[in-house]
């Protein structure tokens, strides 16, 4: 018997839809789990996923990807790459594994929720594969990180981070809960796969894989490429959902969902990826600044995706572009000061050569951020330990969990937007975070930032050591300046760029 072409049977086979007889549509697909937009099953039948994949094809492709990544890892196991790698790159690996592994596991649950509750059979099908993708991403990255635990205890944070009250973990959990766990399948498809994956992580992983290859870290490069190719497929789930929603008059609601998720993703992206690209990546291996990356990939690609769908720029677009100039410089300085609270060792990244590169990429950097680092360097050279470590907490946003950042030497530029609800005062790092809160205060008002917890007596003693204990970051895991301030000695007044 001749086999049918895939196109001849695919749509029938994946349309595991039926007309419910023993339960209502609402009981099977409750709005709060399936579709806050209120479209019917019939309306969702128009969903047409751009990637057509069968289970047989999926397994074949995935097994090859796994075999490729694991075999490269095995082949290079004796290369001692990690031991000889630049400290900045070692920090990027630590940061990546700690931040990403269990975020991927949360994405398993998110995709599984879509696989069960999405009203569109095509979306359920894609999300089933997506859920298996994310499970592979969580497992393979945990496996790769595990081997490195013998090199540094900080790699233990690959699995530990999300089980702690570390400030970054609190922010990360809040983020993924807001985009995924606390949303219906249709909204989640927009927030997770369109705004986050298509808008950020798919492109970010392409860049990270390329950076790893430039570094000579072929193990990590292969790993990330393997993950990214999955991401490129399942990040299309949301685009197809948006077409259905827009066709059925839900453009404004869809636009709002995109804008909420894009902003929340940007806040975390700039906090972690921005410093990685501009400060931690070894200078000789840098091929692009964070700003260039954002403008070329995030801005251009995301704008094109919005235009293709007939959607608008987010209302905060000009503000967003403005923050590309300074958020991550501020974030890097702050994380360097707060380094004992993170599981990686943030390099300062401001030697004269690095400052010259920063000045080229961000004209005026030396007159603004350079002046701040001059003061830090002077304290580091003089061994003033109390001046190069935090004595107080930064304010943390009640939506995104990160601190507000401003352009220094610019008056009172650092932002602080407040709101009152039920007698409690909330703090926001930016107008978009306040906007997100105001759309649905009930989603966020019960959440306590680290600052709220400190003031509420949940962190006892309320000291730096008490904070370390509360966050579960033990001696040996706490970040330190990996260069032991040697960079500061390159910045004598005569050598400043």
């Amino acid at each position: 018997m001749a086999l049918l072409e895939r196109s001849e049977w695919y749509d029938i086979a994946r349309d595991t839809n039926w007309t419910p007889q023993f339960a209502s549509e609402q009981e099977i697909f409750p709005d709060e789990m399936s579709d806050a937009f209120g479209l019917t099953l019939d309306q969702w039948t128009a969903y047409d996923e751009p990637f057509k994949v069968t289970y047989r094809e999926y397994v074949q492709v995935q097994s090859k990807k796994d075999a490729g990544a694991y075999s490269v890892k095995a082949a290079l196991a004796r290369s001692n790459f990690y031991d000889n790698a630049d400290k900045g790159w070692q920090s990027i690996l630590k940061m990546h594994y700690g931040a990403v592994c269990l975020l991927e596991y949360n994405a398993v649950l998110a995709e599984a929720k879509m696989a069960r509750f999405a009203k569109a059979p095509g979306m359920r099908n894609m999300a089933t594969f997506g859920s298996m993708d994310e499970l592979r991403h969580a497992q393979i990255q945990l496996y790769f990180a595990h081997e490195l635990c013998q090199k540094s205890r900080q790699f233990d944070w690959a699995i530990k981070t999300f089980h702690t009250q570390n400030w970054a973990a609190v922010a990360g959990r809040s983020f993924i809960d807001d985009l995924c766990m606390g949303r219906d399948a249709a909204t989640m498809s927009i927030m997770l796969t369109f705004s986050l994956e298509q808008g950020f992580t798919n492109l970010q992983f392409m860049g990270l894989a390329a950076d790893a290859e430039l570094m000579g870290d072929y193990t990590f490069s292969n790993l990330i490429s393997s993950v990214q190719t999955d991401e490129a497929r399942h990040s299309q789930i949301g685009t197809a959902a948006l077409r259905v929603l827009i066709a059925n008059g839900k453009k404004d609601q869809a636009q709002q969902a995109i804008e909420i998720a894009f902003w929340r993703a940007w806040r975390l992206f700039m906090t972690l990826t921005g410093p990685s690209i501009d400060y931690l990546t070894p200078l000789r291996r840098r091929h692009q600044s964070f700003k260039e990356f954002v403008m070329e990939f995030i801005v251009a690609e995301f704008m094109r995706a919005l235009e293709d769908l007939g959607l608008d720029k987010p209302w905060y677009w000009e503000y967003f572009l403005d923050t590309v100039e300074y958020f991550h410089h501020s974030g890097h300085l702050e994380i360097w000061f707060l380094r004992s609270t993170v599981w990686w060792d943030p390099s300062a990244g401001v030697t004269p050569e690095e400052r010259a590169w920063l000045e080229e990429k961000y004209p005026g950097w030396n007159d603004v951020w350079g002046k701040l680092w001059d003061v830090v360097a002077e304290n580091a050279r003089a061994d003033r330990a109390d001046k190069v470590s935090p004595q107080a907490l930064p304010m943390l946003c009640n939506v995104c969990g990160t601190s507000s950042g401003g352009m220094p030497l610019n008056g009172f530029h650092q932002g602080n937007w407040t709101d009152h609800t039920d007698g409690r005062r909330y703090y926001f790092c930016s107008p978009p975070c306040k906007w997100i809160f105001d759309i649905a205060p009930e989603r966020y008002e019960g959440h306590n930032s680290l600052v709220d917890r400190l003031l509420g007596g949940m962190i006892d003693p309320g000291t730096v050591e008490g904070l370390h204990q509360y966050m579960g970051i033990m001696p040996g895991e706490r970040g330190a300046d990996p260069d032991d301030y040697s960079w500061a000695h390159t910045l004598t007044p005569a050598t400043k760029a």
Binding site: V375, L393, S403, M407, G411, Q414, Y427
Partner: protein, 96 residues
């Protein structure tokens, strides 16, 4: 000694910081307490002008001998700590 946490926005700084202070402090003492976390740490210390305090959103600085307890500030009030003589705008260079 009663202490309240204040949120400090320090002139020319880039990070909002939570700083607990005694309600017995005068505005001059508050400014000095806040400066500990900015001036000489990541900003150059300025000695050419006294530091002043105002609540965020206000234009006028508060009297230097006013005490925290007499301001009526609730906990977590955001204050701005700046210099009486601002830096000339032409000395400020934004990255563009």
């Amino acid at each position: 000694m009663d202490v309240i946490p204040l949120v400090c926005s320090f002139e020319d700084g880039c990070i909002l910081t939570l700083v607990p202070v005694s309600v017995d402090l005068t505005m001059d003492e508050v400014a000095a307490a806040m400066a500990e976390h900015f001036a000489g740490r990541m900003l150059e210390t300025r000695t050419d002008a006294p530091m002043r305090v105002r609540a965020q959103g206000e234009v006028d600085f508060l009297p230097r001998d006013l005490r925290v307890r007499d301001t009526g500030w609730p906990s977590m009030t955001t204050i701005q700590v700046g210099y009486e003589t601002p830096v000339a705008p032409q000395k400020r260079k934004a990255i563009r």
